[in-house]
């Protein structure tokens, strides 16, 4: 038997729950077919989320899933240019012709879909993005020059969370796009996803006891993002997310973390998201999205 998991027409951090719901049980008993034929758009979060599903299935030793490529020539060309298919073909049996990726990604892709497995990958990601980030953040989004450094620091800390806590590899992608419906401005988005143990299991041994019956995916996310706790006894740990949150406060940015069956967001005034969503369809690992909007007054 094969279960069809429909990829939403517009796949982003919110519609991602539909994709998770399509998997139904984890780990699934049936072979999965991810049907992207009707896809019209996908955010970096959506694209690396699909890869995470493929990776998690491989690590759970399930049958290799199928992935049908989008019907739209524009969409599949764009997905190819973000580097998505290059990694998808390692994890999925692809159905439909995926275009060959060009030598360079589109100009709104600051960092194409990139695997993160070790500390060296974090160096490589930050080194790769630093020069482009400076141009995009300052010139196009109107952020002050020092924002480039903070952006790189946030990217580094977000990627290190995979290496330090996930227990497996993950993915990162960075892109700018127009957040027309929600904000009416350009944004830069960092998306980081892994297929690892998730926040609840990562923190369980050291922190579950004090939460008693309340312990779950939502409380684990709150403990990590709001209280800055870490599974390590080293008191220096757990500051990365707190630091990212502080930066984002200054830029009216948003951070949203989904892990297991919960999603916790620090919601800026321009967004209508709820701070904590629980009892969501389960999805393995952790998915982080950091959104930084263009500032209202352009920097000269």
């Amino acid at each position: 038997m094969t279960r069809v998991v429909e990829i939403p027409q517009s796949l982003d951090d919110r519609s991602f729950d539909q994709l998770a719901a399509g998997i139904v049980d984890w780990p699934p008993e049936e072979k999965l077919l991810f049907d992207a034929r009707g896809a019209q758009w996908a955010s970096p979060y959506g694209l690396i989320g699909i890869l995470t599903a493929g990776q998690a299935l491989a690590e759970a030793k399930r049958e290799r899933p199928l992935l049908t490529v989008p019907n739209s020539a524009d969409v599949k060309s764009y997905w190819a240019r973000t580097g998505f298919f290059r990694h998808a073909e390692q994890l999925f049996e692809l159905h439909g012709r995926a275009p060959r990726p060009p030598a360079s990604p589109p100009s709104d892709v600051l960092l194409e879909v990139t695997p993160v497995r070790a500390s060296e990958d974090v160096h490589s990601v930050v080194n790769k993005i630093s020069e482009t980030a400076s141009r995009i953040l300052h010139t196009e989004l109107g952020l002050e020059m020092k924002a480039t450094m903070r952006f790189s620091m946030a990217l580094s800390e977000a990627c290190q969370n995979i290496v330090e806590h996930a227990g497996t590899g993950g993915w990162v992608a960075v892109q700018t796009y127009n957040f027309r419906r929600r904000l009416g401005r350009n944004v830069v988005v960092i998306a980081v996803s892994d297929a690892g143990i998730g926040f609840r299991r990562s923190l369980e041994a050291t922190h579950a006891k004090r939460f008693g019956d309340r312990w779950g995916d939502g409380t684990a996310l709150e403990a990590a993002l709001i209280q800055g706790v870490s599974r390590f006894r080293d008191p220096g740990r757990g500051q990365g997310l707190a630091f990212i949150k502080r930066f984002l406060d200054q830029w009216e940015g948003k951070i949203s973390i989904r892990s297991g069956t919960a999603r916790l967001s620090i919601v800026p005034p321009w967004d209508e998201d709820v701070p904590l969503s629980e009892r969501l369809p389960f999805f393995p690992g952790s998915q982080v999205q950091i959104t930084i909007p263009a500032q209202r007054e352009p920097v000269r």
Binding site: S119, M149, E157, Q239, G240
Partner: protein, 180 residues
């Protein structure tokens, strides 16, 4: 005597890349190891860690290189550490991690003007530090007179600075660290 340790040189020796970005905990721990080895062979009272060549310092590295180094050297009676050549965002990262650990360090700005304190320092101790940098070595009575404080308040602030290893007590006088 002051020992200057160029962090950019240590990073290049460690990673052998042209990039001057201090990123990730393993890199930070390796750099801290190199600094500790340099300190072990030194007879200088103050070690000045020179970050001038460092383009980016992430929070994990700030924790590994600066906070953990301060914890490692705090029992060494005659060895003090200060920073030099930090950019504004590096100040911010180091300030964040040191405050978290209740630690502090002096950072010397370019041009070697008055040092800036980073991290967790009580307000009175900050005033006392500025006073020491301006006036030189002081006894608690001298500080109390200079700031119009009670002797007890002045003594407490100087003790706080000494515990944070931002001053040195010698022959009953509190000395600013030699930084230039």
């Amino acid at each position: 005597m002051i020992q200057t340790i160029c962090i950019g040189d240590l990073l290049q020796a460690e990673l052998a890349t042209p990039f001057r970005r201090l990123l990730t905990r393993p890199t930070g721990a390796a750099i801290r190891g190199r600094i500790e080895r340099a300190l072990a062979g030194s007879v200088c009272l103050t070690a000045l860690l020179d970050f001038s060549d460092i383009e980016l310092l992430d929070l994990s590295c700030a924790d590994e290189v600066v906070a953990k180094l301060l914890m490692a050297v705090r029992d060494r009676a005659e060895q003090y550490v200060a920073l030099f050549g930090l950019s504004e965002d590096q100040h911010e990262a180091i300030e964040h991690v040191l405050t978290h650990h209740h630690l502090a360090i002096a950072a010397v700005p370019p041009g070697r003007s008055a040092p800036r304190l980073l991290g967790w320092v009580p307000a009175d101790a900050r005033h006392a530090f500025t006073c020491l940098c301006t006036w030189g070595p002081l006894h608690p009575i001298g500080l109390a007179r200079a700031l119009g404080w009670s002797e007890n308040r002045a003594a407490t602030s100087l003790e706080d600075l000494t515990l944070l290893r931002l001053t040195r007590l010698a022959a009953g006088l509190y000395h600013p660290l030699p930084l230039a």
